[in-house]
């Protein structure tokens, strides 16, 4: 019986968990972490079950309140949802585990219950976005996740975090408003909010300026959410000043769900024929993504702060995903979707490591990391693996998505993007190698000597997620056919054969 209701339970569970955490935190703060952890773990299991169901029987539909789709709200889970949901919840479990230790040093102890509550609310929002088949419902859950994200950025002790959070809030709200406008325009000309229904009703209206405007609003709105190049200004500060565990969540979960929403709207609400033929926006979109790939990397090279460098690197890497999607060739889209997993794994690992450095030695600056590999060997080794993956050294995951996106660009005859992707690998190598060189091949500077020599690998609770993700960087690279088996049917479904 329960099995039929998993699509909704995966969203309601963290909601209930959030309330429970809040109330439990009243009694005893130590109860919060187990509740949050248990919630995410159960969710992750649910997502795996859902994924296997989808793979066996095709898309799952769930009518909330037993109302049929265009009238009620519908949950739809297909391969893309299932995949994204599983990826996100995998990272949630690890981030939650990581947060247990790392957050203690970064926020006031009495804020811990609220932290876990907001974390679970974030998960609620994100999962809601992932499974919904209704546009307005997507907006509502987008707001839940956004509000939670603003709060998590501001939760730390640094006062600069408040400004970052405010900027994030303003940008996020503009983005939400644009999405709301997009939904409004679509609703006015079609009368429905259900995604599948819209996809059915829209084709005769493709010439309408309203539909095209709606499309542009969706693109702009979600581009802000995913920090596409000229709209990325909120991102570096938000990543830099939030507590480490939060940075991990932002970079792996919040940004990925934005991309998911974009894919969903591009390919499931509007059809590929619309985005490729009827409206030349995608051309611009691809160029912006290419600018993000190069620009993000170039700015990252100039950074002295590790977390900020990783943040700019995120801008660049999100560019890969968006480029893959923007090219709208089946192979490139496969690569783009694959990069959702890959980037989540790599960047999650890297931000966790950056957090571990701060936790054990208090060092944030790249230059001060000299010689830290000697005292934190495992962490440093994980960094090397994740960095190699970011650069795209085979057989890590980063290589695989680059391969697909570049191949897709090649196949659609867009040589310039192939060169962009390859050139960016080099730029990525420049800024990651700088860090590796400092970590391994230099003596500590006197000012930080004490901090470096007394540093140790972080406690198991933090180290375990780092190592799991580092291992995932390699394993998913070698066994890339596992995620591909999920992605390819989806891409084939919307774009035709591969």
């Amino acid at each position: 019986m329960i099995a039929d209701h998993l699509p909704v339970l995966v969203v309601v569970l963290p909601l209930v968990g959030a309330v429970a955490t809040l109330l439990a935190g009243w009694a005893d703060r130590r109860l919060c972490f187990p509740i949050a952890m248990a919630t995410t773990v159960i969710q992750f299991c649910i997502s795996l079950v859902l994924l296997s169901q989808v793979m066996q029987t095709g898309p799952l539909h769930y009518n909330l309140g037993n109302w049929l789709p265009p009238w009620g709200i519908e949950y739809v889970i297909d391969q893309l949802n299932g995949f994204v949901l599983a990826v996100i919840l995998f990272l949630c479990v690890l981030s939650c585990l990581y947060a247990n230790r790392s957050i203690l040093s970064e926020i006031d102890e009495k804020k811990i219950p609220a932290f876990y509550t907001v974390l679970l609310l974030l998960v609620t929002g994100v999962c809601g976005i992932a499974v919904t088949g209704d546009l307005f419902n997507l907006y509502v859950f987008l707001e839940i996740s956004s509000l939670a994200a603003y709060a998590l950025v501001a939760i730390g002790r640094e006062k600069r975090a408040l400004i970052s959070s405010f900027t994030y809030l303003v940008m996020g709200s503009v983005s939400a408003c644009f999405i709301l406008l997009g939904i409004g325009h679509l609703y006015i000309v079609t009368g429905t909010l259900n995604m599948a229904d819209l996809a059915r009703v829209l084709p005769p209206l493709y010439g309408s300026t309203v539909v095209q405007t709606a499309f542009i609003f969706f693109i702009i709105g979600l581009s802000i959410k995913t920090a596409l190049f000229p709209l990325h200004l909120w991102l570096p500060d938000a990543y830099r000043y939030s507590p480490s565990a939060v940075t991990v969540l932002l970079s792996t979960i919040v940004s990925k769900i934005g991309v998911y929403a974009l894919i969903r709207i591009l390919f499931s609400v509007f059809t590929p024929s619309f985005i490729i033929i009827d409206i030349p926006v995608m051309e611009v979109f691809c160029w912006l993504a290419a600018a993000a790939i190069i620009g993000g990397s170039v700015i990252a090279i100039a950074q002295t702060d590790l977390k900020r460098m990783l943040a700019y690197s995120s801008v660049s890497q999100m560019g890969y995903i968006l480029l893959g999607i923007g090219i709208a060739d089946s192979i490139a889209v496969t690569g783009g979707i694959l990069h959702i997993l890959n980037h989540a794994v790599m960047k999650g690992c890297l931000f966790m490591i950056a957090g571990a450095f701060i936790y054990t030695s208090g060092i944030r600056s790249i230059e001060d990391l000299r010689g830290i590999a000697r005292t934190m060997p495992l962490t440093a080794a994980a960094f090397v693996i994740a960095a190699a993956s970011m650069i795209g050294i085979p057989p890590t995951v980063g290589f695989m998505s680059k391969w697909f996106i570049a191949l897709g660009a090649l196949e659609s005859g867009q040589w310039i993007f192939v060169l962009v992707i390859l050139a960016s690998s080099l730029l990525t190598a420049v800024y990651f190698w700088k860090v590796i060189e400092y970590m391994y091949f230099r003596e500590p500077v006197p000012a930080c000597g004490e901090a470096i020599t007394s540093a140790r690998d972080p406690p198991a609770g933090m180290l375990a997620p780092i190592l799991v993700l580092a291992a995932a960087c390699v394993l998913f690279g070698i066994f890339v056919s596992i995620p591909l088996e999920i992605i390819v049917p989806f891409v084939t479904g919307i774009l035709g054969g591969t």
Binding site: L15, A18, V19, L22, G25, W26, L64, G65, W67, P70, W71, G72, I73, K110, K111, P113, A114, F115, T117, V118, L121, T124, G125, G128, D134, F136, N137, V140, F141, E143, I144, L147, A148, Y150, A151, A154, I155, L181, H185, Y187, I188, V189, T190, G191, T192, L193, S208, T209, V210, Q212, T213, A214, I216, F217
Partner: protein, 91 residues
Amino acid sequence: MKLWALVSVLLVGLLLLWAEGDIPSFGDASAPSYNYVADRYITDAYNDTATKNMVTAILADYRGYDTLGELTVIFTAGVVVLLLLRRGGRL
């Protein structure tokens, strides 16, 4: 900053104006939004839910899940403001 604001505002404005040409006119009863999903709500809401107020019927029943989400939003806001501003007391 001001210049950028003006440029982006003008761009958005132009986009919106461009779109409004194809929008059904104000108060048009033949608009698609009125005749598809909403139509069913208007005709069946009372039979389905025994609620005279269609807005309530949709809010709490047809699209009740949205409302749950909305409640979660406001709950989130409550917790967040609590988290950000409460200085002394326990949560």
